[in-house]
Subunit: 618 residues, 2 copies
């Protein structure tokens, strides 16, 4: 018995149609904890260097962690790990809801999926059994219809479904994997990887009264959990989440001038009053929680009118409101709800989609593309109908949508000339909704995030524009970003959600109660550092180095035009200084390659070899 | 007027359905000559770093050179250039026949194709016009039927067709682009790139009596050409080509123990008597030549029996006989002809296909895969029917064929365990038909070839096992490989065929007569070096470095088991020594990155910058 874990990982090969169970090794648990950490280890070991992310041999993996489905706050989560078709990096994308909990309750810490099914299929996990079933009849179905049809088909109303929509089937690189209707493993294109495997969905039936795992000290765990719920969840740290959830950030961001507006041309939005949390409350029917989560950050909303009909949504979150609202110039909150609802059904990442939509709008305004290129579409900022139509063009790869389906980087390359100045991305992953020109640490966070521009690896704006640090100077930012990245690597390995305000002590306590191990917070910090270094080794193996840790032209050369940050830009020399310091503090060389000494301390020496067939097995 | 060139490059965007003509710049001509050189320059400038090779923004380009279609020997050729979906490197693949000549006669030095057509299409170039036409009705057609149908459709019996078969449509990474029925731009998967653009074929009508280009000194050119034809082509250097063509090499290779046999497990084939040039002669109906070529190396063959029916083939060449004959254990020459005929029609590279077929056979023999994984196929060495069936499984991506369609590297990764020991590849491109364990220079040639394991970048075996140099020692090999690589870069830029025994002097003379420029052989040598360095910069930008310049496990650790090289292997330390010397002589650092000083001398300093959006435009 390995407390805290089911102890088993399920390997499904869709080409052979075979399944086998791999025992979880204790050494892997100790070094990598779970979730993202497991993914880092398995991807490094299983993916052949330079594998095409959409080829059958790229493994698509899902992992839970030692606190998943335990009733700890913010613990109803799983992580998908694969090589990203968007950035070509290591990719982990996590998602809340119920599905991940069901996977663990059913007796698996993880799923590893390789190969490709001969026809569109779905996997059904139930009663200790695994079936690969035909899903041909679901071809082209949206996420909602797929979910409904599969729950019906397996005959278990309580079955949980993770599925792709048309975007994933069409290998759109903005495609996510959607579980429980509105929870999305969104960033980095995991839906395209699932689509490339001819896998429409994974359905899990499990009896939540009989979870197939045990905790080492259930009583201690529960007592500690009660304390945390009382002191943290119900206390001031989580008040924002309990009341408004992430939409509250719309106002915060606009106030400090980092709210992406018109493809990051501005950091303040004239119509912010029409898209903030107060507006959301008008459409809110209730708050909601993921499986056994005491925070209940989610907003259920409903609109009904002649234009949109009736829509019941789980959302929208801050990133969706900003990227598909202010960034595309859309101030009609009902339209944002409708867009969110459409995009979840098509199965895409609202962040990257909002980003490339705004980019295409700017390209249209500047004359790079015209109506003829867009099947007659007049793609102007703020036009809800055009924004909805473009989402479909991308999901179905129609016309210019086929290029946008590849992402911002590929779109500007296709446009040619000076178009690259408009692309907001790092490593091919589109910027999310914080403009670094109001919090310089974010520039470093995006540039060094493992999967490309991501705000969930480090969120220094919390200490900068939203806190006490100077948002315009580089001092201390490298250290801060590293600390946040290592802590988050552990959070995504446990697998906690972002919204638990957890430090190493809290995480370690949960870990020890669950597993029976006796870790110290410093041990856990080392786990975080180990995971980030192993992932960096993976990315280095794939050819990434300093040249890929960049900031977009706009951030570097165009000064903020409006708002409190007016006149500020992240000068390349400032950015370079932060990056130098970051590498140095990380123990990486000037090109961003981990040094031997650092790897030795982390027990990763053997992973540092040159990766070629002569010197290292692959 | 730019003598020797049409002066125009045609850019076709399949997403927009637009075409435009780019004037060829004199500076590009001077620095890069044509063909491969042009491709190196354009790919570096047009491809966004890390672009997915199968995405619409990866440019697919065809180039001719200053002597194309001039009646010079071995000048009926074009080069396709793109980012390879097989290796992820720069890719150039050239092909003979007529199509490339027609492109230049029609008035274009090159085609640049970007975007992706909304439905399966073909491009028709004729009378100074360009059309993008519907090819939906050709979906799934083989190359032969496609070629026939399009010649019929355009109503010009003399139209030339370059097309993809089912393999290209199915994005098989072994897919080539086939022109004039049996001439294949084969290596590195250009057919998959064409398939990803929904482009079935490019058809050209042109009036060969009115070529749309002029030579600077037609009389001087013709006089010099006559002299070369008399002294070189009709003399001893080309005798092998005029009489037997490449199949003569089967015997040479077996004699020196480098003939790949049973997936490179052996270097001699017990049944070599059944597959050599003498056997070929039995089936030969005539010799044949590409457009205005005086060498006429090609063998037209014909078989007719109950098993195979009647087959009329242009081939097989040495590489096909070795990779699809001895390497797969097939000693039935008629079966080799039938396989060649099938593979051309499906539109695949016989080298990579023969390699992965043999690999799959070894995997079958060793129990990694079994009948159940192969739809009942018993995949044994020497079984012609199994070999034919597997080719179809790969082209149509059926079952395990779907994995093999990705290549050797991905297949062994999917098998897992020790399977990597069987993979014969570098940078993901499969080894061609010379075992380096009988000519150590070939190990370096394969490891450092720009597009992955290729024998057409340097062919040191000519000086080693087939010449006077010691094939088992490293001395002088790095220098030899570099010299050959630079010379070949110029040959593929002119664009000459491999079979003209040309030195810098001859090439320069042709170049000067054609263009009116006054180059010295040393200028031309510098062009070759410039092209190879620019390509290295491209590959470095994509993340390639020393770790990717490797030799397969089998070459490094398994001694040759039979024949004259018995007991020999390319020890890693010997290989490393050659590689060190190679980098040093190249002026590259220990990781294989060109040093600034070298780049300055070649006029490439501005290409050496870090490639990121802050410091360099993309």
């Amino acid at each position: 018995m390995m407390y805290g874990y089911a102890g088993r990982i399920l390997h499904i090969d869709l080409t052979k149609g075979s399944t086998k169970v791999i025992r979880l090794r204790r050494s892997v648990v100790k070094a990598y904890v779970g979730g993202k950490g497991f993914g880092a280890r398995f991807l490094y070991d299983l993916a052949v260097p330079r594998v095409d992310p959409l080829s059958p041999s790229n493994p698509l993996m899902f992992f839970t962690g030692p606190i998943t489905a335990t009733g700890a706050p913010a613990s109803a989560r799983d992580v998908v790990v694969t090589k990203s078709p968007k950035s070509g990096t290591f990719l982990d994308s996590n998602s809340g809801g119920f599905w991940g909990c069901w996977l663990k309750i059913a007796g698996y810490d993880g799923l590893i999926i390789t190969g490709r099914a001969g026809r569109l299929s779905y996997i059904y996990i139930h009663d200790g059994d695994v079936e690969i079933r035909d899903a041909s009849s679901l071809k082209g179905y949206g996420v909602y219809a797929t979910t409904e049809a599969l729950i019906e088909e397996v005959g278990d109303k309580d079955a949980k479904v993770a599925a792709i929509g048309p975007a994933g089937e069409n290998l759109v690189k903005l495609a996510g994997i959607v579980n429980d209707l509105h929870h999305v493993h969104a960033r980095g294109g995991p839906g395209a990887v699932m689509g490339s495997k001819n896998l429409k969905a994974i359905v899990i039936s499990a009896d939540k009264r009989k979870p197939r795992f045990e905790l080492a000290d259930p009583e201690g765990f529960n007592e500690y959990n009660k304390k945390i719920i009382k002191e943290v969840v119900m206390g001031p740290p989580e008040e924002w989440a309990r009341t408004d959830g992430t939409p509250i950030i719309v106002r915060w961001s606009n106030d400090v001038g980092v709210l992406p507006t018109h493809n990051f041309q501005y950091g303040v939005f004239d119509h912010v009053d029409e898209i903030d949390a107060e507006v959301l409350r008008r459409y809110r029917t209730s708050k909601a929680a993921c499986y056994r989560c005491s925070i209940a950050c989610r907003n259920l909303t409903r609109i009904k009118d002649d234009k949109w009909g009736e829509i019941v949504l789980d959302g929208p979150e801050y990133e969706t409101i900003a990227m598909g609202g202010s960034n595309t110039g859309l101030s009609d909150f009902k339209a944002i709800i409708a867009w969110n609802n459409l995009v979840d059904d098509l199965g895409m990442d609202t962040i990257s989609l909002g980003n490339v939509t705004a980019l295409a709008m700017e390209a249209y305004e500047r004359g790079y593309i015209n109506k003829d290129d867009l099947d007659g579409l007049e793609l102007r900022f703020g036009d809800a109908d055009a924004q909805m139509e473009l989402a479909k063009m991308i999901a179905y790869r129609r016309g210019v949508g086929d290029i946008l389906a590849e992402g911002a980087r590929e779109f500007v390359a296709w446009l040619g000339g000076d178009a690259y100045k408009m692309a907001m991305e790092t490593k091919g992953l589109e910027y999310p909704a914080y403009d670094p020109r109001g919090s310089i640490g974010m520039a470093l966070a995006y540039a060094t995030a493992d999967r490309g521009a991501c705000h969930l690896r480090a969120w220094p704006i919390a200490a900068e524009a939203f806190g006490d640090m100077d948002p315009f100077t580089t001092e201390g930012k490298a250290k801060l970003v590293i600390e946040m990245q290592d802590l988050n690597a552990v959070k995504w390995s446990m697998v906690f959600c972002d919204f638990l305000d957890a430090d190493y002590e809290m995480i370690t306590n949960y870990f020890n109660y669950a597993t029976g191990l006796d870790y110290k917070p410093s041990d856990m910090q080392l786990v975080g550092e180990r995971i980030n270094n192993l992932i960096r080794l993976f990315n280095v193996r794939e050819g990434f180095s300093r040249k890929d840790d960049y900031i977009p032209y706009r951030v570097a050369y165009e000064e903020a035009k409006k708002g409190p940050n007016k006149g500020f830009r992240v000068k390349p020399e400032m950015f370079s200084r932060m990056l130098d310091e970051y590498y140095q503090l990380r123990g990486w060389d000037r090109e961003g390659v981990p040094r031997k000494g650092k790897l030795r301390k982390l027990g990763l020496s053997k992973d540092a070899g040159k990766v070629n067939i002569v010197s290292v097995k692959y």
